[in-house]
Structures are given as C-alpha cells and as structure tokens.
Amino acid sequence: MSTILELIETKTATSVSNVSITNCFSADYDAYKVILDTIDFANGGLNFRLMNASGVVSSSHYDDAVLLMRSYGVFGENKTLSGTEFGQIGFSDLSNKGGATVIDIYNPFNSSLYTAANWQNAGVSSIGTPARKAIGLLRVAESHTGINFLSSATILNIRARVYGVKAT
C-alpha cells in the first residue's frame, strides 16, 4: 500500500480579517494536509475554525494544546478547553517574509467522529522564529466541509493549499 497526496484547492487573499476554503473536505478522503507558505501580518497571529454546511463553526467546542517554542526566549504551553477556534497556527511581525505551517486534519467529513488536527509552524519574527507544535479536537460529531482562517489583526497576505491524503 502506498500513500498519495492530491491537491484539492489553493486559496490566496490580501488584506482580510478572515478567509474561507469551502467544500474542500468530502467523503473522498479521511485525512487532509493543509500547507500555508504565506502568513503575513504587520503584527499578528493566525487561527482557524472548521465549517459545516451552514457556515463557520464558532461554538465553544474547540480544544487545543499548543507548545510555543521561541528561539529567542522561554517556551510556553497554551492550552484551551471549549474555545471557539484553533490556534495560533502562525505569527508574523515582519511584512512579506513568507510563512511555514502544516496542518494535518483527520475525519472532518465523517459525521460520526470528532474532527482532530495536528499542526506545526515556523513563525516569522524580527527577533527569531517562534515555532509551534500542537494538537486540537473539535468536539462536534458532524460533517465539516471547509476551513476558515481568521485573526484579530488584518491578514495582509495568506496562501493556503488543501491536499487530500489517500492510501492506494
């Protein structure tokens, strides 16, 4: 058995508060890889939420545990139970210096299972990289069809690609 990666959708946006990729999750795959190579803020962090057929899921069912590793300082453990979003998944205080995040999402479309996510990131900072490794769980057993990226700061530039992971 081998595993292949298939591109589902690429999304770019400029100067927005949030951006959605709709209908990227389906019964075709159980696992997805989301890769962001552009996360650009004047100074801000990026979070994400799942979407269902009615839109963004913003209920208080997001649990996550984020290990924040700073090349320039102390590490931190950021844990949230019953939050309204996952994150952070990226950070930038240097305009137009790229971005580096990989998110693995499991069973988003399966209405019988909660949706799980793991992510890793190299953040962009003038004083060194803040790196992140994290796990998350959306405790709602329903079919999730899309992903929504958001921030409290203006997202100057973002590019995300969604891939399906399939065993053959």
């Binding site: 292949i4 298939e6 890769i35 590793m69 700073r70 790229g98 580096a100 890793q120 790196a131």
Partner: protein, 176 residues
C-alpha cells in the same frame, strides 16, 4: 493528480563528510525525508545548514542567522528546550549520536520559501536520533529559520568530527 514528486534521492554507500540535498528550484513547498543515517564516530554530531548557489555550485551558508526552537523528546529524562537565535547551524536533536550496529538518525523536514529571494527560508523539524550517551532515542520537534532574504536551493547534512557512512535522503516537491 499525485501532488508529491520526487526531485532527488541520495543513498550514502561510502563515507562522506556531508550530503548536499539541493534541487529546490521553484516556489513550491518541499519535503525532505532522511532515514537510516549512520556515522562512523561514536558520540559525534550531525548538523544542518541551508545551501545556495554560488558560482554555479551549492554552498552551505554559514552566517550566524539560524534561529531555531525545538523541544527534545526523550524517554530517559526531562524534555529539553533546544532553542537559540543567531547560530551558524543546527544540530540533530542536540545530541551526540551512536555509531554501533542498529543506531541511526531519521528526520522529516518541510522546506518553505527557499526559492524566494526576498523572504526568509524556514523548515519545520521532526527528527529521531540514537543518542550515544543515553543509549536511546532523542528527537526534535520544532522549526528553524535562516534570517537572510535570499534564495536557497536545499540543505546540507554535515558530520561534526565524523563521516556519514549510510542512509538515504530524499527530496520531494509538493506540487500545487
């Protein structure tokens, strides 16, 4: 359409001081997978640097611009913060590595923004090495940036007071 495309694969069959894995020529995200990497000197180290093309050849970049932050996971003690700004390289799991039978290092890196000359280059890090002092596995989970806005074409794995005697390293492009 299959999105993973193999760009280059190197299998070490005789001792070398370093292995250059170049081949990044586009703006895609790349994945670098190393497995079964062995060395000939017990307690020596392996480290990573980025490369760029200089006078037609891939050259390791040695400026003190490597910023990295990792958590070292280990079964024999407290997890360890392995984080520094402004270094000239990054070591595998901050570890002295074993050289006996069965002892090797493996890793998965994602390479971001390497081909972009106006942005920094980044990798996310997952590695697993055989720590010769602890006689068990130690592994990094983290990320690294090289804070110079210039194009890079890959990375180099270098032995510190050792040669590299085995292993396979493969570079994949993740197509858009």
């Amino acid at each position: 359409m299959e999105a993973i495309e193999q760009v280059k694969s190197t299998t070490v069959t005789s001792a070398v001081s370093s292995v250059i894995m170049d081949g990044v020529t586009t703006d895609h995200v790349y994945m670098l997978v190393g497995k079964g990497i062995t060395i000939n000197t017990d307690t020596a180290y392996l480290h990573t640097r980025f490369t760029k093309v200089v006078s037609g050849a891939s050259q390791p970049q040695t400026a003190a611009q490597y910023d990295f932050a990792n958590l070292i996971l280990k079964p024999d003690g407290a997890f360890e913060n392995f984080a520094y700004p402004s270094r000239t390289e990054m070591y595998f799991a901050n570890s002295p590595i074993g050289a006996s039978a069965g002892e090797s290092s493996s890793f998965v890196y994602y390479l971001f923004n390497f081909n972009n000359s106006s942005q920094y280059s980044y990798i996310t890090i997952e590695d697993n090495v055989f720590n010769s002092t602890s006689s068990t596995a130690h592994g990094s989970q983290g990320a690294m940036q090289y804070g110079v806005a210039e194009a890079h074409n890959g990375i180099v794995i270098t032995g510190d007071s050792t040669t590299i005697t085995g292993g396979t390293i493969t570079l994949y492009k993740i197509n858009n």
